[in-house]
């Protein structure tokens, strides 16, 4: 991408001055009326850097009221945009990136040595001189959590309708439909309003879109990873819950298709460099459920193999899947009661949770690790499309 960073102006010290009466215009043009697409090709998180340069000038002239007022208007402006665009992934991701970047700037240039270890000498010259904005950092951190939660809600809302049909119902392995259990009508997943079936490709396309937007907007990689950990957890939970409630999908062939689908998702994670332990681990219960459907379920040795393999599934879940398991044809036997009792006996010492279904709305706590920028304020150029001519470079 083209990055519009100019060579530094000779006398520009990386501060931006404005008259107090222009504050509302600044917030309107830079926050409430801004369309993220207008900044394509510019430095990611440009609004955050511009706001920091304005804060820095107010700090430089020791005007605490101006700092208070600008930060309060900024925060209220961001909240207003988020409320107006509460189903817009791109807008929400854009303001998460910028709020986090502003928070990083307030740390990086706080004068606190703990946050300055990676600063260049030039960047150290751009630190705040008069005010300690620790309390505002807390407000921005709380705001970032709110925005993150909105982002997860939007992305889950887009993905959730696809999950059951893409993970459990769609048959992409050729010839597998011939070995499905007989006697079950093909079901549509949740809604009964016509064709709402999705293939795995639809989930992958949607996740590609999320990932591209977040990367382009300069969202911190650690946060992107947490978004996908959350989304993969939801895919796991929704799929496993359906498997635990539907006899027609508890079969060898669904197990095979499911394992293939999970491996496609893992491949996607690897391709996007997101295949970290904490993300991949969220899929473990589903991987084990798919393997459980495929394993032999007859001898004591089979029982032992199942018990040692299914460590991420509770006893209740293992027993439920075995009870629901549907033979493919008349040559395959049902799982016997005796076999299920053997499994229960072997697992009785496990201290398993008592609930059968997973809480698919569970949210992992989010963390925003400090991520200083290598950009120097005096290298940042303000594009004309922002209509901020009233800002003076100092």
């Amino acid at each position: 991408r083209q990055v519009t960073v100019q060579r530094k102006e000779k006398d520009f010290q990386g501060m931006l001055e404005y008259h107090k009466e222009d504050e509302a215009l600044l917030i309107r043009n830079l926050v409430t009326d801004l369309k993220p697409q207008a900044l394509a090709g510019t430095v990611p998180c440009l609004p955050a850097y511009i706001l920091y340069m304005c804060i820095r000038h107010a700090d430089y002239v020791n005007d605490d009221l101006k700092v208070h007022s600008l930060l309060t208007s900024t925060i209220n402006g961001i909240k207003k945009v988020l409320k107006k665009h509460n189903d817009d992934f791109e807008m929400t991701s854009f303001w998460l990136s910028n709020t986090c970047r502003l928070l990083h700037c307030l740390k990086q240039y706080s004068g606190d040595e703990g946050f300055m270890t990676q600063n260049t000498a030039k960047q150290n010259e751009h630190c705040l001189t008069n005010f300690d904005l620790t309390e505002y950092r807390q407000v921005l951190s709380d705001l970032s959590i709110q925005i993150y939660q909105q982002l997860i809600k939007i992305s889950e809302g887009l993905l959730q309708p696809m999950i059951v049909s893409a993970m459990l119902e769609n048959e992409s392995i050729q010839g597998l439909s011939g070995v499905k259990p007989t006697g079950y009508r093909k079901r549509t997943s949740s809604l009964a309003d016509g064709d709402n079936s999705y293939c795995l490709e639809a989930i992958i396309r949607q996740m590609n879109s999320f990932h591209t937007v977040m990367c382009d907007q300069g969202l911190d990689p650690e946060i992107i990873l947490q978004v996908f950990k959350q989304l993969f957890y939801m895919i796991n939970a929704v799929t496993l819950n359906n498997l635990l409630l539907r006899k027609d999908v508890c079969s060898w062939s669904t197990g095979m298709q499911l394992r293939y689908n999970i491996s496609q998702l893992e491949e996607w994670l690897r391709g996007r460099n997101l295949h970290q332990r904490e993300v991949a681990e969220t899929m473990e219960p589903l991987i084990q459920a798919a393997q459980l459907l495929q394993l032999k379920k007859k001898s004591p040795e089979d029982a032992e193999a199942i018990c040692s393999l299914c460590t991420a599934l509770s006893t209740q879940q293992i027993v439920k899947i075995l009870n629901l398991y549907t033979p493919l044809n008349e040559f395959e036997e049902r799982v016997t009661v005796a076999f299920i009792r053997t499994i229960q006996a072997q697992l009785q010492e496990r201290n398993d949770p008592q609930h059968l279904l997973l809480d698919f709305k569970h949210m992992f706590p989010v963390l925003f690790p400090f991520n200083p920028s290598s950009l120097t304020m005096d290298s940042i150029h303000i594009p004309a499309c922002l209509n901020l001519e009233f800002l003076s470079e100092v």
Partner: protein, 31 residues
């Protein structure tokens, strides 16, 4: 060293919820 002394004056900030309340009451006051 190019490092500057640590900023000294702590600017007190309202919480996010307090900010929202202030913002709502300002909007109510305006015609």
């Amino acid at each position: 060293s190019a490092q500057r002394p640590r900023p000294r004056v702590l600017l007190k900030a309202p919480t996010l919820a307090e900010m929202e309340e202030m913002n709502v009451s300002e909007e109510e006051e305006s015609p």
